[in-house]
Symmetry: C2
Subunit: 750 residues, 2 copies
């Protein structure tokens, strides 16, 4: 650690210069002050407003000052000038006492005071590591933290994926691919992975089923989807909507794959709007049977997995009619194929044909022409026909009954969220691995530099790595909550919004990361053998199925708006008062002119700041959107119109809520991580992610008075410097994901 | 047009309320003023700061006031209160004279004065259309404008694509697909489309070649790429790097496809860094031949189109060595296959195998083991070996010679830009068509609403439509400039940066639009038959080949920085002075406290504002990045390190430059559009696009003092209201793209 001659004379001023620049750009006033009040030699080079020192230069300066500061006694560090003088003394440098006097005046004028300003240079475990530094955490420690909950089934599934049979298919026709996936599925069933989902099985463990699903997604997404259709959706519908008797009758055969089946909800005319679906099931008391019918083209069951080839039974969602009366959407078990694979009488199956991806899954379109099924094929947990042919249900409200039927979807969404993150992890493992080996361009002939050393490369992949870690923790927390709720037989509706939120965020992130990884690998990323072809194409539809992402964000926002309205209806003014109090105290704190200009590093990385800003944005958007909807309705708009016309606000509110939800969920989840070094890495990931979210939407925060422009710029700098600090941990984090080598394929040569 | 009872009493105040809200959110001060100074009944509902009126409500109010204003005499429209009173009079409404007096006081306090404020309500052709309004332009008029330049070849190519042979392939193996594409290519060659590219052909017309390429991209991208490899890259290399004699020898066979060929530049170890490629061509004076060799694995020519199956010749880029001296990268014509398709001795070909997309193109990896070619196979326009075995070149500087060799790439980049936009057009045609038919959710059972009526759907697709129009004009301008330059035999380097800029922006836009279209079509978008599978997978690599986008943005920025530095070196201070003067006058204008708060609709849509902001950002970034690089170097960083450490700033500068370039290019191009209604539509597209670019980066403009927060919010509103106004034109714009019906496939049912 030596200083250049040019800097030696400047030593007393350097800490102050660092602080001045590091907090954002210097204002003209500040520059004038600096220039006019102090004439240390070499100072000019630091004071050109058009030549802001680069982040690298500042980082170097910081680590040099920190290193020097480490050797000083505590009492030599009163303020920035003292610190500079102390360093100069140690380094044996000369300085001009007059200049130093003017430095002190300047320090006062700029308002850089005392311990807080000096704190930045104290080596309190906040040393900035260079990309060459060693990581602070061991792979195994981090892996252990990431493998919770249900680590045992993750290990078991990884071992399975290393067996010789689980090799990626190359160019293979659709028929052969479907057959291959079905064979793989048989293996999974025979090892009892399907049975994890069902109380009729000895291995029953809801959390383990989700963990297995997530781990399988490292390998082949057609297999994962087929696994999900059979055990999660088809079996899940029987498990959640069927009686105990119906579960005993069907679930063992579902678990063993003796009876492959379908989940027939979506219709050609009604994807997202399930309540309006048109398939009919009419009870015929004469023969004590239901007659299932597809009344028109738009009522065909579309995109049904397992329908084109393998499915023998289907859980069919239909409008139930009993004694001439409609009872809304209910689920029935309908045989669609005989034991030899031929379609049952009255059942018509059309193959959905070639898709963008997931061609190992046999999607089909089903229609029913007077198909009769016995009375006890109506899944009877929430409603049944009694022996007198009367409709019975313990749930009086048709709306509540409808939502009970949809409860099946919650688990599916959590599963998709986990699988999406596995996609992101594979994409990051391949692309970061390549970036660590591949060299391109350099200072001279034959001296090319590794891709990972380029800021553009880091900017493309590091934020994705951070978001993967954060969403990983959020999804794992939700896996635990869901498994607890299911195993307690409890209410799932409380998890609906959170499941939708994480399904949206994770599926979007999975696809985006797969694409970013492809681009980061250039032409190599385009070769099918390097996984991106399948990752991009297969995961694409994760954004659409199990609930279209745009529809789900609105579901999340509606939930926020409903709770907001609820605060008013019970105890009206009290609720409003409470809301305004929270918002008010937030605004008081964050819109305070001092706070909104605060920009020390210590302040920018605090949880409180992040929580306040994320929370404040959500509260303001809630009030704004709710108010705008209410006033549109006051002007005569129908609720539907008012909601639609405010749709962009609703979506912004949904996204803001998801940000806060993820933040708080991960904050809580971090408390479960025992190993301090693993916790440190994950904790920093959350800070970096939160800063990233604020930076991405800083225009909103600026426009709504939460940030001064200087603080906004300081956030950008802090975020990018935290990202850079990730470099030494990248390899370890990727290894800790625990992707089976075989699933990853051969590494791309450098 | 009737008013509700609640609004009748408010009529005198409504114009003012509209203006107050429409320019952004009201400040607390303004609200207090309004509330305290005026007590018209019903006013409170309009003054809740948390219940900003929705865009819809404001739009309704605007059109109602406008409709009323139309019936008034001009002299009744002095100011907003007069306007309100006149309307109230016409409507026979009562009002309280005291309240009106306070309204006038208020008008003064808020500074809403005179004709400018009232102008907003004058029906001067600025009526806000509802989605149901008719478009202002005819399809054929717009199509005519969009088909320039070289409309004839676009018509000819469209007709070709309607022939029965040009049907999309469904599920087809790679071998069969490659054969099919080669057959199609034979048809194109036989119709003389390849010959367009070559001066040896009667049909030679560089602009027409680019127009044909762009039109073919409506259909199958494997065919387009194969077309580009054969005629654009392989043939183009001979055309641009070969002597007249070499052109006459080879080009007729290239044009007729009798000799399929390859463009062998990229190497396994060197994709973007062409200058460092390792293949060697050593001149052997004894036998007057070159010996072409692949010295190591990383020197293999990789991803070479036409190499795996069809290519017979290859233009190989290699380091040329003559008499023991290296002369840098040169191109040689090397036979790789005999007439029967077997590889020539010493040539090794490996099939690149399955890719994410473009599987109709046979990419291969080539290596050479002591392959001998005659002396006259060195493409000799810029360098040759004379009869004495001496190296000769009219270009003294090796660097300039190297860039002359790379000039071949310019045309390819322009071609890829055009093809990328065709991808976007197909994606928009399919998704907007579906959105116009498909209904989902609605105010009540059986009353579902078309997807296109949802703001979220518009927000996803309309900006893409606008950007497609804008980039279309920019790319067509470049097609014209390029064809002129080539046909004049002029210098292409001046077009290099622009070609790179539009290649980057268009390829990114094409892929993003294909993905957005897929998502907008939900599950239907996932079926291969609906085109998105191919569009997404095939166009993905457009971001990487013909120059990786990240590398190209840096090329663009380097060009800006070089010119900036150039301003200093010739006449040093004068250049700097000129730069500072431009920047200064911009800052003076745009950072002026009045201007940065201006937010009337008329101001927000002016070209001058947009140009100033785009220009100002570019100039500030130029100075900042140049300064930062210079000061890093002053601190001892090598040029390479300094550039790399400032890479993110360099990329931001490149993007800012591209924005301004596109803006100014399209501004000029609009002057060529004669039909006023077509021009109106395209003009508005440019305004909407420019606003969109400013809105997307408004955090930067806020942080750098160009916008007040109120003006920023007003820009957001103006942008979204302009997007909404697009609705009546959507169908016509899409039709005007002129996508052959057969290329589009069957429309998805609603």
């Amino acid at each position: 650690m030596t200083w250049s001659d040019a800097d030696l004379g400047l030593l007393p001023a350097l800490p102050m210069l660092y602080v001045a620049w590091a907090d954002g750009e210097l204002t003209d006033r500040e520059l004038d002050l600096l220039r006019s009040s102090c004439n240390l030699e070499g100072l000019d080079a630091w004071l050109d407003p058009q030549q802001r020192p680069s982040a690298t230069r500042l980082r170097l300066l910081l680590s040099r000052i920190r290193a020097a500061a480490r050797d000083l006694d505590l009492d030599q560090r009163h303020d920035l000038v003292d610190l500079g003088l102390a360093i100069a003394r140690v380094e044996g440098a000369d300085w001009d006492p007059k200049a130093v006097e003017s430095l002190r005046a300047l320090q006062d004028a700029l308002g850089f005071h005392g311990a807080e300003a000096v704190a930045e240079f104290l080596p309190a475990g906040t040393e900035v590591p260079s990309p060459e530094s060693a990581s602070v955490v061991e792979t195994s420690t981090l892996a252990q933290a990431l493998d919770e909950p249900r680590p045992w089934v993750r290990h078991e599934t990884r071992a399975l994926l290393e067996e010789p049979d689980f090799q990626h298919v190359g160019e293979i026709g659709t028929d052969a691919y479907r057959t291959k996936v079905f064979q793989w599925l048989r293996v999974l069933a025979s090892r009892g992975l399907g049975g994890l989902a069902f109380p009729t099985s000895e291995r029953h463990d809801t959390g383990a089923f989700l963990a297995a699903f997530e781990t399988l997604a490292f390998f082949d997404l057609s297999l994962v989807v087929k696994f999900g259709v059979q055990f999660g959706l088809f079996g899940g519908a029987i498990r959640f909507l069927g009686t105990a008797e119906q579960q005993r009758r069907w679930l063992p055969q579902v678990a063993s794959l003796d009876v492959p089946g379908c989940f027939a909800m979506t219709e050609l005319g009604h994807g997202s709007n399930v309540r309006e679906l048109e398939t009919r099931a009419v009870y015929d008391p004469g023969r004590d049977q239901f007659i299932v019918t597809t009344p028109r083209v738009s009522a065909q069951k579309d995109w049904i997995g397992n329908a084109a080839v393998h499915g023998r039974l289907a859980v069919v969602f239909a409008q139930l009619e009993v004694g001439g009366q409609d009872h809304g959407v209910h689920a029935l078990v309908v045989p669609i194929r005989g034991p030899r694979g031929g379609a049952r009488r009255g059942v018509r199956v059309v193959d959905c044909g070639l898709k963008m991806g997931l061609n190992g899954v046999d999607n089909g379109r089903l229609s029913f022409h007077q198909v009769r099924v016995p009375r006890d094929h109506l899944l009877g947990r929430f409603a049944w026909i009694d022996d007198e042919g009367q409709y019975q249900s313990p749930i009086a409200s048709p709306t509540r009954r409808f939502f009970s039927m949809l409860g099946t979807l919650v688990g599916g969404r959590i599963a998709v969220a986990g699988a999406s993150l596995s996609v992101a992890k594979v994409a990051l493992a391949v692309s970061l691995g390549y970036a660590g080996r591949r060299r391109q361009f350099g200072p001279g002939p034959g001296e090319e530099v590794r891709l990972i050393e380029y800021p553009s490369h880091q900017a493309r992949l590091f934020p994705a790595l951070v978001e993967t870690l954060v969403l990983h923790l959020a999804v794992h927390a939700l896996q635990r909550d869901y498994a607890d709720a299911v195993d307690r037989g409890g209410e799932l509706r409380g998890l609906e919004s959170g499941a939708a939120a994480l399904k949206v965020r994770s599926s979007r992130h999975g696809v985006a990361t797969a694409r970013a990884g492809r681009e980061a690998c250039g032409g190599r990323g385009y070769a099918a053998v390097n996984r991106f072809a399948a990752l991009c194409a297969d995961a694409e539809v994760f954004q659409t199925f199990e609930g279209d992402n745009t529809v789900l964000v609105q579901l999340v926002a509606k939930d926020v708006l409903t709770r907001f309205r609820g605060q008013f209806s019970d105890g009206r003014l009290l609720g409003l008062a409470r809301h305004l109090e929270t918002l008010g105290s937030l605004l008081l704190r964050e819109k305070n002119p001092i706070v909104r200009r605060l920009r020390s590093e210590a302040h920018l990385v605090t949880r409180d700041l992040h929580r306040d800003l994320l929370h404040g944005r959500e509260l303001e958007l809630t009030q704004q959107v709710a108010g705008s909807i209410a006033s549109d309705m006051a002007l005569g708009a129908s609720p539907f119109e008012a909601f639609r016309d405010n749709q962009l606000g609703v979506l912004a509110l949904g996204e803001a809520h998801i940000d806060r939800l993820v933040f708080e969920q991960v904050e809580r989840e971090l408390e479960r991580v025992d190993a301090p070094d693993a916790r440190h890495v994950l904790d920093r990931a959350l800070t970096t992610w939160a800063l990233g979210r604020l930076v991405a939407d800083r225009a909103w925060f600026l426009e709504h008075g939460y940030l001064s422009t200087d603080k906004s710029k300081a956030l950008v700098l802090e975020h990018s410097s935290l990202l850079t600090e990730l470099a030494p941990d990248v390899e370890i984090v990727v290894e800790a994901f625990g992707i089976p080598a075989q699933a990853l394929g051969a590494p791309i040569a450098g």
